[in-house]
Symmetry: D2
Subunit: 333 residues, 4 copies
């Protein structure tokens, strides 16, 4: 393709449709500790305490629980134009939104349905927000510091890899079969392990949002808080240590079933020529470094994604099934 | 019974038969961080870095993996005599051992097979050991601070409860059915949640030894260390938070299958009239506060125990099966 | 003396006079995370989240900031009578209080001015309180778990040592000069490093209350919270590691100047014959294991104590001055 | 200036002259936990366990303790040429080194004495190193993960700021007087708070190297280890929380007096237009968020730096003295 790709800075925010805004507020604000930057009767704009832009999560009241869009910040205003041309040339549905037409706090933006079927936004301009990094008195719950990444389900991992590669993303880690068939990949623009990762499965669906916190005791506290109020069924998997990324994690499900990972302690990937680290699908430490089995729902369940008109996108079944690899503790027995 | 019970101070040490002393040394010393206080060709005497007595774990080379005995320290030399009379009156097998006849470092002792079928020692006199609490340079691995408790499998929990009650133990927590039938109990002499606990199951068998460490990051580090050397299959369950005791834990299996819990952060029980906290067997937070399922092997597997002649004790099947309670995440599905 | 001493279980609570109850509430409840068990217009009864009795701290509105009394729980109701006889025989001022006459929630009690000049209460009966150990949703601030100890200033450390020895306290650690002259001592009834400690200085005065929290990150968080709201001047010393006790600490001053220590991770002292660990006054690790200098105010300032009539007790100057030991980082230069 | 600046990726390594290589090995390897990647009789190449390049610290045997050079990695081989032209045009001493002529493991490089008088290297090519991120069994001591930053003493902070600005560095935080006179600045290329910071003082001198570790308990453990072996005098300042950067720190001095900071938990700065956060020099939280006083030696002492011929550079006294600001706990009284 001749059209240059936009210069993506990082995964910036996700907008989720939730069926009960009050229940969602309980989960994301009261329990996880997101800071409410803006709210009206139909939506909440939330951010972590390290974030200096308007939001990293938008909850929008909807009839069904789904992903409205994931959103990447680009380096310059011109990169929004580049994104528009790039996805037009790919033949994707594209819509341009001026400030005020799209999400609150966000300026000029482009929304597309990418070749993988995902609703994706690119923007540069976003409102600034007051620094809360040292407002420890406002830190609560999981003490969410910032959005770290999106994890998406797609049936064709090599296609997802190729698409994000052409968008300029690096690849930090993969899970591969004995013949190097690709089961999963972690790709980044900012200098962490990932901004986006692909989990093999029926797709397009949203697997989870990854939220960064600073230390492992905050991950443990998150789980303790759900146990304390007898809402332990919101904890789906973990806490545990990932093989991939080396991060310490816990996965939770919100009242609509949206999955979120509280995540801490990955590593720097900013050097030129940073090499991809490849896990064999038979290494039972890849998904949990301690060899604990993955919960079946974690492999199988994910949220539908919407198209630019707000309709649910149809899904395609996956080709390679990592959860069918029945070796060690990590495959499902 | 007319004979007064000995005044038990605390769970003091366990002596395990292991089939490969070198493999056991790797696990307990190199990986868990026990300090070697004494060793000869057939045995190792180990202690945690907070312990000021000669050992809290003895590993003895044996043909089969089994429990030689658990051992309680009593308050005075006279309490050893009391123990002898007490178990004689109960009609239990009893053997008196002078210093040098029993375990290295331990003085005058009495060994019995208690009414539950367990080999149990009572002693007062034991060699002192150099203070290592602040020798951070010698702390390694799990940074084991001290032995915390024994957990034993027995088919008759009410009988175990009654026996230890008559030995003067308090009861901090229980798991009970809707009709208050007793599934499990945690009993103490020192001012923590327990010195001994009972897990329903075929018995007499040793379920696990509980070792205290100071903070939860040390529990996480323990698991990370096993993953790092690709020995993650030694991790059986957790890390996780117990409902009972509120402690943060991980369960490991040594090369012979002996189970050990690295355990941190329980609570003070030393007040007079400390009340028993009762969990209902249907509360899926009782075994894991986060509602994570218990691994089947954790409920089913345990180590044989020896009699005073060194022969394996026969086991009796259990009556109530907690693992058959199929509600929530915690029963086995 | 012929009269037997009462059987003390542990340091149970302190009652402080504060000049501004609202300011005190901000400090102890909002910032440190004490749970309010009872309040009226003149007082607050507070407890840590691990405590199962009515309070461990009472704040009482007063004209001047002072210690009303420290209070020990005794093993049986009869031990209250023993305390009355014991201090009567010592010739101390003694007052008996029935339930309702003394502090809210406390039953039959005896208050004395002990031979060191301190107002001290002994009681057995106290109201129970709901278990909050696992109510992580209610844990805030320093996440105070329980009262750990009292630290008192007295000019005559050997006299203080002898008095508490005769009350049946053990001695875990001391600071001593080259000729074994006693600069400070830590004494216990419950199985921790101390229930009471003596700091050399003009006395009787209250040096500080020690509050236990579970892990060191909670101590750090406490300090961060005061910085966050620009009240960092309430932090007097630390965070740091004590040589004595090995605990990790931070010292704060409340709005009236009452000093409190947030304290974690000491060690078990419950064995018979537990040996005293002796620090030389010239070891600069004794007060801070990292050799950081002690703040002068920490050595010099303390709160006045009241007599049984509510009047401030006169103080006597100290004899040995530990802060004058000018070796290493820890003496004041 | 017309010549484009090289594209700096990050602070990459420092080379220190030490007078006793064995003593330095004890400090940096045994105590701090650096991994030895290469050694010969005159030097040691060390790296943190997250680093994938040959070294981040080189210790070279020398007659006097000094900084040989700090070194930045640049994005491409051509950026090395750019660096050569850039500093030539500035009229600085410049030397080109082919692989084998300079530091072991490093390819083509340029060394300069920059306009501030510091010996600085720029390179692109460096040997790769085996991934140790998950080799927890090799983590020791401070568990150093990676080099984070250089902190340099210079008498003219505005000049230092301007020089690094022209090299393309962003500025995350400053300390400023009431008239915005610059006392200190933190500047970055990678997406953290800094790669280099300037402390006002006689210069050119090296103030410290900043090393990243993952969690605060590792910082505490570092201090505990020095106390344990009675080398607590190597701890100069902290542990504490910085106001600037929000990181949790401890400062140590190596056997030659070289200062090192163990540092954890700063924040993401990678967004376009990341705004500088400005601290007033009278805010006593700027240097320690808890208001603890800075040790005088920390402000006054620093290591000499060498020129390209290996001779000590003369120093110029500073103009603005932050340590003379006598407000709050943080100025020196």
């Amino acid at each position: 393709m001749n059209t240059p790709a936009p210069d993506v800075v990082r995964s910036a925010y996700a907008q989720l449709a939730v069926t009960d805004l009050g229940a969602a507020r309980w989960f994301w604000v009261d329990m996880l500790g997101f800071h409410v930057q803006y709210e009206d009767t139909n939506s909440l704009c939330l951010r972590g305490t390290d974030e200096l832009t308007h939001h990293s999560l938008v909850l929008r009241k909807g009839r069904i629980a789904a992903l409205d869009h994931i959103s990447y910040r680009v380096r310059t205003p011109e990169d929004v134009d580049k994104a528009e041309r790039y996805f037009n040339e790919l033949g994707c549905p594209v819509r341009r939104l001026k400030r005020g037409e799209g999400t609150h706090g966000v300026g000029d933006a482009v929304r597309v349905v990418d070749p993988l079927g995902f609703p994706v936004e690119f923007f540069h301009d976003i409102d600034r927000a007051e620094r809360l990094i040292q407002r420890y008195d406002l830190h609560r719950g999981a003490e969410v510091a910032r959005l770290d990444h999106f994890n998406i389900c797609t049936p064709d991992i090599p296609a997802a890899y190729a698409h994000y590669k052409s968008l300029g993303f690096g690849c930090s880690e993969t899970i591969e079969g004995d013949e190097h068939e690709l089961y999963a990949a972690w790709m980044y623009r900012k200098q962490t392990v990932h901004d986006v990762a692909f989990t093999g499965g029926a797709g397009p669906r949203l697997h989870h949002l990854g939220l960064a916190t600073h230390e492992s005791h905050q991950v443990l506290r998150t789980a303790d808080l759900f146990g304390a109020v007898r809402k332990e069924h919101h904890i789906e998997r973990g806490p545990g240590r990932h093989g991939v990324s080396n991060a310490f994690y816990v996965y939770l499900r919100d009242p609509d079933g949206h999955r979120v990972e509280i995540y801490t302690s990955d590593y720097y990937t900013g050097d030129p020529g940073h090499e991809t680290y490849r896990w064999n699908v038979h290494d039972d430490r890849r998904r949990d470094f301690w060899g604990n089995a993955v919960i079946e729902s974690w492999y199988k369940e994910a949220a539908p994604v919407l198209d630019l008109g707000g309709n649910v996108q149809p899904v395609t079944e996956n080709r390679l099934d990592e959860s069918a690899v029945r070796i060690g503790a990590d495959g499902l027995g």
